[in-house]
């Protein structure tokens, strides 16, 4: 019954930012229906996609995520009336910025998954995981983060001077 599990050389890390009313419930439904999907995804629950700050996506990439999924209620179905509309506009602009910076947009997926769409959740997660697996690890932001830490630790004369002047 269960297909043989294939071993992959690279297992991507996928972070999912989801709203609690639709997509989180949809993911729960996938669970109660015992659907199967790759174990690469880690779900972070928000009250609403409206709460999801684009900075979290950057942060996730910095922290080693290879793919990010953002999902909430279908337009018109927001539990908070209009949060997902704000999210939609925000992310439309944010995608452009990411593209400008040179991030492959294939690593980032926005979608609507309702509480009744366990199957769609599975498709979404599986699709993104497979896609990102082919793309390989996301290095750029991780390296940036390391540099940041490094420069924070270093004791340059400029920094010293700045500290002294305070």
């Amino acid at each position: 019954m269960h297909p043989e599990k294939t071993k992959h050389a690279f297992e991507p890390k996928i972070i999912a930012f989801v709203c609690t009313w639709c997509t989180y419930a949809g993911a729960d439904l996938a669970g109660t229906s015992r659907m199967q999907y790759p174990a690469n995804v880690r779900v972070l629950k928000f009250p609403c996609t409206g709460r999801i700050d684009p900075v979290f996506i950057l942060k996730a990439f910095q922290q080693g995520a290879d793919g990010v999924l953002v999902s909430g209620c279908h337009p018109g179905d927001c539990h908070y009336i209009a949060g997902n509309f704000h999210a939609r506009r925000r992310f439309a602009a944010f995608r452009k910025l990411l593209e400008f910076v040179g991030v492959d947009l294939g690593r980032l997926q926005f979608s609507w998954v309702s509480a009744a769409e366990g199957g769609k959740w599975v498709e979404m997660v599986t699709g993104l995981t497979e896609r990102v697996r082919l793309m390989g690890p996301m290095q750029e932001f991780k390296e940036l983060a390391l540099e940041e830490q490094w420069s924070g630790a270093i004791n340059t004369p400029e920094l010293q001077e700045a500290y002294n002047s305070i």
Partner: protein
């Protein structure tokens, strides 16, 4: 330094089968800040909660993480347990290692690693959790019931009888809904009108029920205990307070031939009308689309003949705002129509049944009107095309229902029973007639239901043919029904005089639009979703809104009445308290950082953001900042993601908490 306790649940075997719970406990025990980590068979059980409470006291825990099922399932349970052990409930978080881990993965190693990470993220998050005081809000002890069918009537009467005021809003000119259209009811064959109309009168006479018919919900604002509902009372053109219901206007109205929707368009009504004689209220309404006065400006007969002067052509729609504490949604159902559906609609019509173009192919509700003593034929079963009595009648079940290729996969639940009833009514009225029923399965669970169905076959001589109809077509004045009898394995062809289709039960048109106004969720068919399929079948996920009747799924009358009374009971439970505790998940403004750009005000869907002046001791205005009214805030957090200076924070979902989780990756 925090002293975090982590509790890993086996959930019987549901989690431990795929996740090595002991290893999870051992690994997270090593995380900084974790003072205690253990696993247990059933954390939600009494001994499980006991273990939790004991550990909080003995280990002097500062925060708690329970790794178990979805927080949607048991977050409340564990927060309550934590509270009873003396900790603030919001210092407890759940990691979902069942729905999001053990149930969806098979590889034990992978699932265990994932579980450790999920718990680790929650450990980091909970460190940043703050003590949140519960917020109490007052409860408005009035209920709104939407829909005046049997579900809405029952709910309204129960709530009103318990001593609370009820606003009952009905879209049509009269309450009664579909049940008022039925002739007899299964499984007792008592007349629907006879058991329905007394209840309608009770509603009209109840001192605590305010009835708005010919009205719709315009807008819903607020939250549990404190909704503000705007009701649009459509212009009736008749002043309800003045009208005595004498009916002279209807008699004198020169337009007489308008198909009456209540009679499934078989009977006719005037332009000023009540849908049926027992209507409540017995106040007519002018159908402005068909009224000569409104179309041409001439006529005006009804105003001339109205003794009390109740007719008012200038009346306009009125918007009324009603504060209520709870809402019961009872909008009922509609029947699948086999007509051709527009391109792109997921629902397809029935071309093989003529797309509704053959006049003597009718649906079950039309048959009800034909069989009803107060119906357009006075209770005689007559063909709509030529008024003859049909001697051969074919009933087809599951038209639309259980037909995935037509866009609906569910069973409509009531059709097996009402078709059995139809065959009986037919046999009682047409003694020399023969009824045939094409069916897939006979589904008759219910008290005295199967007995009733058997009676239709054994005593009322209905011929049941197991199989579906492939096609029917008009041949002369007959309808040829081609089907298969899969029990015998032959093709059947019946020349019928009339065909009755048991069409699928669907939610009312516009059910999705109303759901969006209410902020409740619905499934892909537009049936409203209950909070939990088994344990919370009458509550919506949105607090303070309850469901009754067929708007939640196909239901017969006994089930509908039961659910309506259950919804009423839920409302009464809510009203038994004066104060309501609400989740303190609200946004707060850090005034020092706020520059008063008020982007938050622009995006807030609740209008919770107010402007607040900050003044120095001399009373000089320093700056204007945002202030979030905690009573109005819905807790979506859109303001926080929007704020350029990050000066507003949603309690329970602060940036700190979320970044901590991301960093724990």
């Amino acid at each position: 330094m925090s002293r975090i306790g982590v509790f890993i649940c086996h959930c019987g075997e549901n989690i431990s089968r795929t996740v090595d719970v002991e290893r999870v406990a051992a690994e997270v025990g090593k995380l900084p800040g974790v003072a205690f980590a253990t696993d247990y068979k059933y954390m939600c059980s009494d001994p499980g909660q006991g273990l939790l409470k004991k550990a909080i006291r003995e280990e002097r825990l500062s925060h708690v993480v329970v790794a178990a099922c979805s927080p949607r399932m048991h977050e409340k349970t564990f927060r309550k347990a934590v509270e009873s052990a003396g900790l603030n409930p919001f210092l407890c978080e759940m990691a979902n290692i069942r729905e999001h881990c053990s149930w969806v993965h098979q590889d034990r190693k992978e699932a265990t690693v994932k579980a450790i990470e999920l718990v680790g993220m929650m450990v980091e998050r909970v460190k940043k959790n703050r003590v949140l005081p519960t917020i109490t809000v007052p409860v408005t002890k009035r209920a709104l019931v939407i829909g005046g069918g049997i579900a809405g009537i029952q709910a309204a009467l129960d709530i009103a009888d318990a001593g609370y005021e009820v606003i009952l809003v009905e879209r049509e000119p009269s309450i009664g809904g579909h049940m008022a259209q039925l002739s007899e009811t299964f499984p007792t064959l008592d007349c629907s009108q006879c058991i329905m109309t007394p209840k309608m009168v009770d509603v009209a006479n109840h001192p605590r029920i305010r009835l708005y018919t010919y009205a719709e919900i315009e807008r819903v604002e607020g939250y549990i205990g404190n909704f503000q509902v705007t009701v649009r009372r459509k212009a009736r053109s008749v002043i309800e307070e003045k009208c005595t219901g004498c009916g002279v206007c209807m008699e004198k109205c020169p337009v007489k031939k308008i198909p009456n929707k209540f009679d499934q368009n078989l009977g006719m009504r005037p332009a000023i009308y009540v849908p049926f004689p027992q209507a409540v209220p017995n106040t007519p309404v002018i159908d402005r689309e068909n009224c000569i006065k409104f179309k041409t400006g001439k006529c005006g007969v009804c105003r001339k003949v109205c003794g009390p002067g109740a007719v008012d052509y200038e009346q306009e729609d009125r918007l009324i705002v009603e504060p209520v504490g709870a809402i019961v949604v009872a909008t009922g159902f509609d029947l699948y129509s086999i007509e051709e559906k527009p391109k792109g609609s997921p629902i397809k019509g029935y071309g093989e049944f003529g797309h509704g173009r053959i006049p003597d192919v009718i649906d079950g509700m039309t048959f009800e009107r034909l069989a009803s003593a107060s119906g357009p034929t006075g209770g005689k079963i007559l063909r709509p095309s030529d008024g003859r009595e049909p001697k051969q009648i074919v009933f087809i079940q599951c038209v639309g229902s259980r037909a995935r290729e037509k866009g609906i996969s569910y069973c409509s639940k009531i059709c097996c029973m009402y078709t059995a009833k139809h065959t009986m009514l037919y046999h009682h009225k047409v003694h020399d007639g023969q009824a045939y029923v094409f069916f897939m399965d006979a589904r008759t669970p219910g008290k005295n239901y199967d007995e009733f169905w058997r009676r239709s076959i054994e005593e009322e001589e209905a011929v049941y043919i197991r199989g579906m109809v492939s096609r029917l077509y008009q041949k002369g004045d007959k309808i040829v029904v081609m089907g298969s009898d899969i029990a015998v394995g032959v093709q059947v062809e019946i020349e019928a005089d009339m065909v009755v289709l048991a069409t699928a039960v669907q939610p009312q048109k516009g059910a999705d639009a109303l759901a969006q106004k209410l902020g409740i969720s619905y499934d892909k068919y537009n049936f409203y979703s209950e909070a939990h399929a088994k344990l919370r079948p009458v509550e919506c996920a949105t607090a303070g809104i309850y469901l009754a009747g067929a708007c939640q799924g196909p239901k017969d009358i006994p089930d509908t009445v039961s659910q309506a009374s259950a919804a009423a009971a839920k409302v009464i439970i809510l009203f038994a308290r004066d104060q309501l505790e609400r989740e303190p998940i609200v946004a707060r403004v850090r005034e020092a950082g706020c520059v008063g750009c008020f982007y938050c005000k622009k995006v807030c869907p609740y209008g919770a953001v107010e402007e607040k002046e900050i003044r120095d001791r001399q009373g000089n205005l320093v700056k204007v900042v945002a202030y979030v009214n905690p009573g109005v805030c819905g807790g979506c957090g859109t303001c926080q993601a929007t704020c350029p200076s990050k000066s507003v924070e949603l309690d329970g979902y602060t940036d700190e908490q979320i970044v901590a989780m991301i960093e724990a990756l």
